[in-house]
Amino acid sequence: MTESGHWFEAEPLWFKTAVFYEIHIRGFFDGNGDGSGDFRGLTEKLDYLQWLGIDCIWLLPFYKSPLRDGGYDIADFLLIHPDYGVVEDVRDFIEQAHQRGIRVIADIVMNHTSSDHPWFQESRSSPGNPKRDWYVWSDTVHRYEDARIIFVDTETSNWTWDEQAGAYFWHRFFSHQPDLNFDNPEVQDAMLEVLRFWLDLGLDGCRLDAVPYLFERDGTICENLPETHSYLKRVRAEIDANYPDRVLLAEANQWPSDVVDYYGEGDECQMCFHFPVMPRMFMSVRREEAKPMYEILAQTPAIPHNCQWGLFLRNHDELTLEMVTDEERDYMYTEYAKDPRMKINVGIRRRLAPLLDNGRDEIELMHAILFSLPGSPVLYYGDEIAMGDNVYLGDRDGVRTPMQWTGDRNGGFSRADFAQLYAPPLMDPVYGYQAVNVEAQLRTPTSLLRWLRRFIALRKEHPVFGFGTFEPLEPSNPRIFAHVRRYEDDVMLCVHNLARSAQAVELDLSAFEGRHPEEIFGRSRFPAIGQLPYLLTLAPRGFYWFQLVEDAADDG
């Protein structure tokens, strides 16, 4: 019996109905007044997260790091960054979260380390060093030439010359992030050891960052290689044997047909992010047509029953546009990144609310679509209060500004002097902390925060959204996105109007003849379904979720 199992029942599929909440610890709450968020601060805010109703916190990397890539450049996997506290604080935080019924997963970067990592320092020191082969060294840049460059804004090659080593080292991301050499069994073992350390401490799982790039082979694009999958199977076998109810979540920004390989036969990662569906949701809302979403969902293969998609609207990275066509990308840039500063790499660095012009109806509609799709929703901290972004901050820091708790100094994020803060909180008249903060929205019954809490509770009352089928309908009106979710006796009909104008739609619901749609927010009953097409009218950007209720008494 492991420590963290103590507050949960055995439930290997818990992640299938969970609502996740992604937290950048630096930006959440400063518990010790030094200007940076930390574990003690995060622990203080657990009551808020419990109130919101989330099931699992996903933490961005909190390890020792020079922070040249938001902590994804890890300089020691077993230490935490001093700004965030000590390992004991992590343990306390996890225990406190568990006591509230909240699980915790965290990022683990397997593919690479910071160049500051002692492993790399040893590796580069001499060709004879025992750790030389822990990284990928070469005398020439003409290896693995088919691999694309991911960070096109800053990197010109996947190889960088290291003066000290007298060789080129391989890196798929920044040139200060050398890739580990997974062909070396010692590296494979070392990463497993890292996983064990954190799982032993109580983590409920890991998000495996940059997982497609573990291995390199000439003549390939060096992504999604069979060796990567075998290693993941090994990791999963270790988890299944010793760490029940823990989840592996893969970050594989790939097409659905490639991503599903990371589920294996249900013996690799339990969860993968569905990257391509997200830009298409934004596209659908802007174009007022359901087609982009229907198309990508039709291209999404079935997954093993013990697996689940991770779905999100926005996260700590740019809104990635790698998994769209050139034409779609141009469209997205034109519509969502009018200021060139908003673009970064192959994506758009903005938060949810600014992307949707702070439109309340649009924000609600996007959440409704997100919550209705087969998968587990992952919310990004601050989006629940419609926080904005700051495009003048470098890299992706503009979407990682301090959480806005109150209208007080520093937005209630920290008691430190303003100048000490890791980043300025937003202060503009629309999105600034005086206008947008948790306290004000808690006190306003109609606020987005209060609405979202009710919506989360509602979704959790119906496990059909986690376990159920996805059956797209063919609405008569192309501006309507409608589908049915079904699990045992629970049948949900979800209808969303993507248009800025009111719409009518006829749906063929004859398969459900005799059932009554019951709108699940207000429990209003709609007329019984018959053989004829079912007519619905929807408000601009409006949506309905109906439970299709079967009952003996036909009291219409």
Binding site: E9, D47, L442, R443, H462, P463
Partner: protein, 465 residues
């Protein structure tokens, strides 16, 4: 697998299903249950009558599930055992073991022996507390099953001990065990001391299964006492307030124990509370049927109630949050030779365990008791046909609060009378709203009580009492 476990595993699902659905502690309705199955069966006694502790899972059509504890007895058919029978399997009668004095005694023996019993997936651990030898020495005790409550079943041994068996299991330590241990260790005298407990630990779940406490023979239950003599009860209310205050002072006194240390409420705690209550009010008003004349005083007053709540919440936080009783009312108190004794630290059974373990302002308990006085006034009238004496509720509240404020550690409360009064009113409102929903669904005759409670809060001043 032993013979008894094999028979339990062979229990026909329909029979188990049928029996479980009839039990008061099983809250869900028949059509909701998709499947019932035994997940773990641990043999506690091999010899006939055999005793098997079964953990049974109910799965619901919507995909959720609940876990229950069923201590099962097994006797050969020819003995003709006929009390609380579940099924006949392979010549054995399988029944609720708590109905069988012989098996009750067996459970007690296990508790006193502090033994561990291994099952297939985990173990059942029995623990005894304190000076039990003296009691054991008094020989064979009479075993008597008592009334079933919402979430547990009890067995009384002689007039000395009472075993409470938790039916619905949730992962984690049951607050009843946690609080009894804590208060016993700190020498708080106004409880029935803990004599033992048992728990399950395994891959499936870690959960408290039951607690053994001293039985309070000859004590008078607070609710009955109050109803029997409303006016006389005012004289006891001050003491009850004082005992409540001392209980809170004790619960807030352990700085070093993270499960109990009193804490400063976070900056948004009051807003979280208010937002939660506000939504409960809103939901309740959506469901109200104004055709019902009893609801007349509330008709169209949804906004008034919510505005009242907003006004009450305009206080600076302050005070501390502590572990509380969680479901405090007259029915949880007894008047004994050594004064008031407080029972049932489980918390509100309808709430999840982690919610019940949450630290809160002690005023939430106080509000629970004040609401209980309102119920007593109405119940007395229903019983005797005579209305409570004019001003009775005000006097009993005042007496209780006077005793309470004198005894409690004032640093646990918000600063100043006004803030304390307002926070208390927020909790009373929360409670009354919860009551109204409950009564509408379960006891329509009682609806007028919470309606009057809400009205009172709409019209009241802000000072405590």
């Amino acid at each position: 697998m032993g013979e008894a476990e094999r028979i339990v595993a062979a229990l026909p699902e329909e029979r188990l299903h049928e029996w479980v659905l009839e039990q008061r502690w099983f809250a869900s309705k028949a059509r909701e249950v998709a499947h019932l199955g035994v997940l773990e069966a641990v043999t506690l006694r091999e010899r006939s009558p055999a005793l098997v502790l079964a953990l049974v899972e109910a799965r619901f059509h919507t995909g959720t599930h609940e876990l229950y504890q069923l201590p099962l007895g097994l006797r050969p058919d020819d003995e003709g055992w006929d009390d609380r029978v579940i099924a006949e399997v392979e010549g054995q009668t399988v029944y609720d073991a708590l109905a069988d004095p012989a098996l009750g005694r067996d459970l007690l023996g296990r508790l006193r022996g502090s033994s561990d019993v291994e099952g297939e997936h985990g173990s059942v651990r029995f623990r005894s507390v304190g000076d039990d030898d003296a009691r054991a020495a008094r020989g064979e005790l009479e075993v008597r099953p008592v009334g079933v409550e919402q979430s547990n079943s009890s067995v009384v041994f002689g007039d000395e001990l009472i075993l409470k068996v938790f039916r619905r299991l949730e992962p984690g330590v049951n607050p009843e065990l946690e609080l009894l241990r804590f208060l016993s260790e700190r020498g708080f005298e106004h409880i029935a001391p803990l004599a033992g407990w048992y728990e399950y630990a395994g891959r499936l779940v870690n959960a408290t299964l039951g607690t053994l406490q001293e039985y309070l023979g000859g004590a008078r239950e607070g609710w009955a006492l109050c109803l029997g003599d409303l006016e006389g009860f005012v004289g006891h209310a001050r003491d009850l307030g004082a005992v409540t205050g001392r209980m809170h002072a004790c619960l807030g006194s352990a700085a070093g124990d993270p499960d109990f240390a009193s804490e400063e409420p976070s900056t948004e705690s009051l807003s979280l509370l208010t937002a939660t209550v506000d939504e409960e009010i809103e939901r309740m008003f959506v469901d109200l049927d104004y055709e019902n004349p009893v609801l007349g005083p509330l008709a169209g007053r949804s906004l008034d109630v919510r505005e009242r709540l907003q006004a009450l919440s305009h206080i600076s936080a302050g005070g501390r949050v502590i572990r509380t009783h969680g479901d405090f009312h007259l029915g949880q108190t007894m008047l004994t030779d050594r004064g008031w004794v407080i029972l049932d630290f489980e918390g509100e059974p309808a709430r999840s365990l982690h919610e019940r373990r949450r630290k809160r302002s002690p005023l939430r308990d106080v509000a629970g008791m004040l609401r209980s006085f309102a119920y007593a006034a109405s119940a007395a009238e229903q019983q005797s046909g005579i209305p409570a004496p004019e001003g009775w509720e005000d006097s009993v509240r005042a007496a209780f609060l006077e005793g309470y404020f004198e005894a409690v550690d004032s640093s646990l409360l918000p600063h100043g009378q006004e803030a304390t009064g307002k926070l208390l009113s927020v909790f009373e409102l929360e409670k009354a709203v919860y009551e109204l929903r409950y009564e509408l669904n379960n006891r329509p005759d009682w609806v007028a009580i919470p309606v009057a409670g809400i009205e009172r809060l709409l019209d009241a001043d802000d000072e405590p009492g």
